[in-house]
């Protein structure tokens, strides 16, 4: 069978290729980094291991005459044209949410970094400014604060479990509340979206994106937020009205940690880059080395299942067996 494996730009090719050859001995493997390379390989491939760095379009799918299985090695399959896959009878599978714990840790890191003016102080110091009084006037503890989690899926739950020991009060909102038993064990109180924004000192968003959630957080939500509160988005840029966020950052928020931007990468003029109280990361909250390894493991396991004619896991399109 022929394989095409799309690798992230950072991959150490030699190492990966060796590993893949070993795992899929007896099969032909093409490695691809760009859309062009992928398109070329797809002409003769049976199995595509895809990552979000390279889209899989309708045209790609229909031109790949032998293609039977797309295994996405990543969380989220937005870059694959699922409709086309369905029409063509190609199975599309993903991996379980193996990055939940990385995202949760990222949120906690960002929270602390904003509560203590970590980045600013660090830069001050490197520029020769010893600003202890400034620090003393700003540094805050997390204990005693109210933490609101908007979206209580896998990531929200991992976050809640990790936050509880820090001495916070946990609120959440979701379309589907947890069971009373889960709420009690994790110390979570379900509240309306309105109360969530009004009562929280820190809000972190963990919703999946669907079109009806476009800009679900806008001027009204930021208006409701407390003065001096913190906003964190590691979910999807489309959920948040960035203009409203910027104006809240300028007027009332202590700060925001934003991992997902409207345009990625942002242009040099992007006003978010100019604000002192925003902490930016390159859509990497879930992409730790450990999470990538878990994702790779999951993806490989699924491909092996496919080769063995066993049911594959996390199927988006097609039959699982």
């Amino acid at each position: 069978m022929n394989f095409t494996v799309v690798l992230p730009p950072s991959s150490r090719v030699g190492e990966q290729a060796g590993l893949l050859q070993q795992l899929f001995a007896g099969h032909h493997i093409d490695l691809a980094f760009t859309h062009a390379e992928q398109a070329k390989a797809l002409e003769s491939t049976d199995v595509l291991v895809s990552t979000a760095f390279v889209p899989v379009t309708r045209e790609d799918i229909f031109c790949a005459s032998r293609l039977r299985f797309i295994q996405v090695a990543g969380v989220g399959v937005d870059h694959v044209d699922l409709e086309a896959a369905r029409e063509k009878g190609v199975i599309v599978a993903g991996v379980a949410g193996s990055n939940a714990q990385s995202v949760a840790e990222h949120v906690i890191m960002s929270t602390f970094a904003l509560l203590r003016p970590l980045i600013l102080s660090h830069h001050d110091l490197k520029e020769g400014k010893w600003n202890l009084p400034g620090w003393m006037g700003q540094a805050q503890e997390l204990a005693g604060k109210t933490f609101g989690i908007y979206g209580m899926g896998r990531i929200g739950q991992e976050l809640a479990k990790r936050l509880l020991p820090f001495g916070v009060t946990l609120l959440y909102h979701d379309l589907r509340p947890l069971s009373p038993e889960e709420e009690r064990l994790w110390g979570l109180s379900f509240v309306s979206k309105d109360v969530l924004f009004k009562a929280s000192d820190i809000i972190s968003v963990h919703l999946p994106f669907t079109p009806d959630l476009y800009h679900v957080i806008g001027p009204q939500e930021f208006l409701a937020m407390k003065d001096g509160s913190i906003f964190i988005n590691t979910a999807r840029a489309e959920l948040v009205d960035e203009d409203a966020l910027i104006s809240a950052l300028q007027t009332k928020l202590l700060g925001a940690a934003i991992d997902v931007l409207n345009s990625e990468p942002p242009s040099a003029e992007d006003p978010l880059l100019k604000l002192p109280n925003v902490l930016l990361t390159p859509h990497g909250a879930g992409v730790t080395i450990q999470a990538q390894n878990r994702i790779a493991q999951d993806a490989i396991q699924n491909v092996l299942r496919f080769l063995d004619n066993r049911p594959v896991d996390n199927v988006y399109v097609g039959e699982s067996s």
């Binding site: 109210t146 509880l164 020991p165 001495g167 916070v168 009060t169 946990l170 609120l171 709420e183 009690r184 064990l185 994790w186 110390g187 979570l188 109180s189 509240v191 309306s192 309105d194 109360v195 009562a199």
Partner: protein, 530 residues
């Protein structure tokens, strides 16, 4: 009619269907030929008997009758009578006495009891003849109710009970008065920019929760619970409720100083413990104080006192103050905080978790008897009290009251469930009451928060004499087997040392039709209370 018969008629006339006691030879004339319509509830030690009657009287809102055994029985009862006095609990206390015909030679059980009892009673009297006995009981009934309320003692020489009775009950007394000066007070409250209320035990005793809530909502002001209040008079989940004041004067002044007018309703102003140095002066705040207890008013720290019924006073105020629409928040953040804290402390069986879990298990109209000592502040904060008669504790910090009072309260309130929460130390002052609970099949849930010692005293030692706790004796109570102790008196009991068992056993306990004791091994960490 002889006095023995007349006493029973007198009891029935006042609809007294329960008498508490522990007998000796001098009480035999009182007990003989006991009518079926009146329950005699036997307690196994006099302090317990009095505390049962105290709880019963409070829960019923009527005087309760308790019968003690002459000088030894009164001796044992003195502490509990002191508590009943401080609780303003109306008790008619009958005390047996040797036959009057040999008092002159001071027989075994004789004592000069009336003066002795008078140190804790509102009134105390030894009748002068058999004809004088029922009139004395009748007077005691009204003396016990006389504001502020408390024990009234009648000494009964054995021979008088065989004599002829003069029995002529006559009157009803309404001690409730409308306080003067309410008009001016209502003006001040209306004009006030930052008013606040402090609610105390009398609001609950006068069944005036509704008035208190309406008044708070009409003024739209923060409400505090009086410090160490023996009863709760305001729903502690109400959005205006700010929690209970700490019993430290400087803290009370600090918390109430931002307000220009503070109205204390039906509480001492203020009950404090322990002594912490600091000024007792108010800066700008004007404190008003309404109470039906002249003693509360006489020693009050308020600048103006109003004597009379708190319920009538609040009604009068409400007639003058137009209610505002209350703004109710969807949840109180406090509840969320408790939920998170409970979850955090679950694994360690921390106090927050244990009390939260108890709160989750209990019926909404449960009555809580609190002798949980170092846990009391948490318990008052975490459990949900939403109606009249939901919370009882001894007003003077006396231990040994809780179990007995729970029994008395359950006897008075058969349709509601009673939960008694006690420290392990506290429970051991009155364990005999478990026997009474079992004999009467009182379905009381008893939770012992067992930290194997007197933690509040350890906490106090640590803060008063830091570093000296290890060399302070008498503060640990190890090696008590509570489940066997309870089971020896017929009460089902389990030791609980993990969250899973706690959650399960609480369900079993509430489903029980008999008393059920949980010996809960709570995190023994010494709390910082000061």
């Amino acid at each position: 009619m002889n006095v023995r018969e007349a006493i029973k008629e007198w009891l029935q006339y006042h609809h007294i269907s329960v008498v508490f006691g522990n007998p000796g030879s001098t009480e035999i004339p009182f007990l003989v030929d006991w009518p079926e319509s009146i329950s005699y509830v036997l307690g196994l030690q006099e302090s317990q008997v009095v505390a049962m009657a105290d709880g019963y009287a409070q829960a019923l809102g009527q005087p309760a009758v308790v019968n003690l055994h002459s000088q030894p029985g009164l001796g044992h009862a003195m502490g509990a009578l002191m508590t009943a006095r401080r609780n303003r609990s109306p008790l008619v206390v009958t005390i047996g006495q040797e036959d009057s015909r040999h008092h002159i030679v001071e027989p075994l059980l004789y004592g000069n009891l009336a003066p002795w009892a008078s140190s804790i009673a509102q009134w105390s009297y030894q009748p002068t003849s058999s004809e004088d006995v029922v009139p004395a009981l009748e007077r005691a009934y009204h003396e016990a109710r006389r504001p502020p309320g408390g024990p009234a003692a009648v000494i009964l020489p054995m021979d008088y009970l065989n004599g002829k009775a003069n029995w002529n009950p006559r009157r009803e007394v309404d001690y409730h008065t409308v306080p003067q000066g309410i008009n001016e007070l209502s003006q001040l409250l209306k004009a006030s920019k930052f008013p606040a209320l402090v609610i105390g035990d009398e609001v609950d005793k006068e069944d005036a929760w509704g008035e208190a809530v309406s008044l708070a909502e009409a003024i739209d002001c923060p409400v505090y619970g009086a410090p160490l209040s023996m009863r709760t008079g305001f729903p502690n989940r109400h959005p205006l409720f700010q929690g209970h004041l700490n019993p430290v004067m400087s803290t009370i002044i600090q918390i109430l100083s931002p307000y220009d007018q503070v109205l204390v309703i039906g509480a001492p102003a203020f009950l404090t413990y322990p002594y912490v140095p600091g000024s007792r002066e108010w800066a700008k705040t004007i404190v008003h104080h309404i109470s039906s207890d002249p003693e509360y008013l006489a020693r009050s720290m308020a600048s103006k006192g109003y004597y009379g019924s708190v319920r009538l006073a609040m009604k009068a105020l409400l007639a003058k103050i137009a209610p505002k629409e209350p703004e109710l928040s969807e949840i109180t953040l406090q509840e969320a905080e408790q939920k998170s804290t409970a979850a955090r402390e679950r694994a360690a069986m921390g106090s927050d978790y244990v009390i939260y879990t108890i709160g989750q298990s209990m019926p909404a109209d449960a009555i809580v008897v609190d002798e949980s000592v170092s846990h009391s502040l948490l318990l008052r904060k975490i459990l949900n009290f939403s109606r009249q008669g939901s919370y009882y504790t001894a007003s003077n910090g006396a231990l040994g009251w809780g179990l007995a009072a729970a029994a008395g309260i359950q006897l008075a309130q058969r349709q509601r469930r009673v939960l008694a929460v006690l420290g392990d130390g506290a429970s051991l002052y009155g364990m005999q009451s478990l026997w009474t609970m079992r004999e009467w099949h009182l379905p009381i849930v008893i939770v012992i928060l067992n930290n194997h010692g007197y933690n509040i005293l350890k906490s106090l030692t640590q803060s008063l004499y830091p570093g000296h706790l290890a060399k302070t004796p008498g503060l640990s109570v190890e090696h008590v087997d509570f489940t066997h102790l309870a089971e020896s008196m017929g009460v089902k009991a389990v030791k609980v040392d993990n969250p899973f068992d706690l959650e399960m056993e609480l369900h079993t306990a509430w489903a029980s039709k008999d008393p059920y004791l949980l010996d809960v091994q709570v995190d023994p960490e010494i709390p910082r209370l000061l």
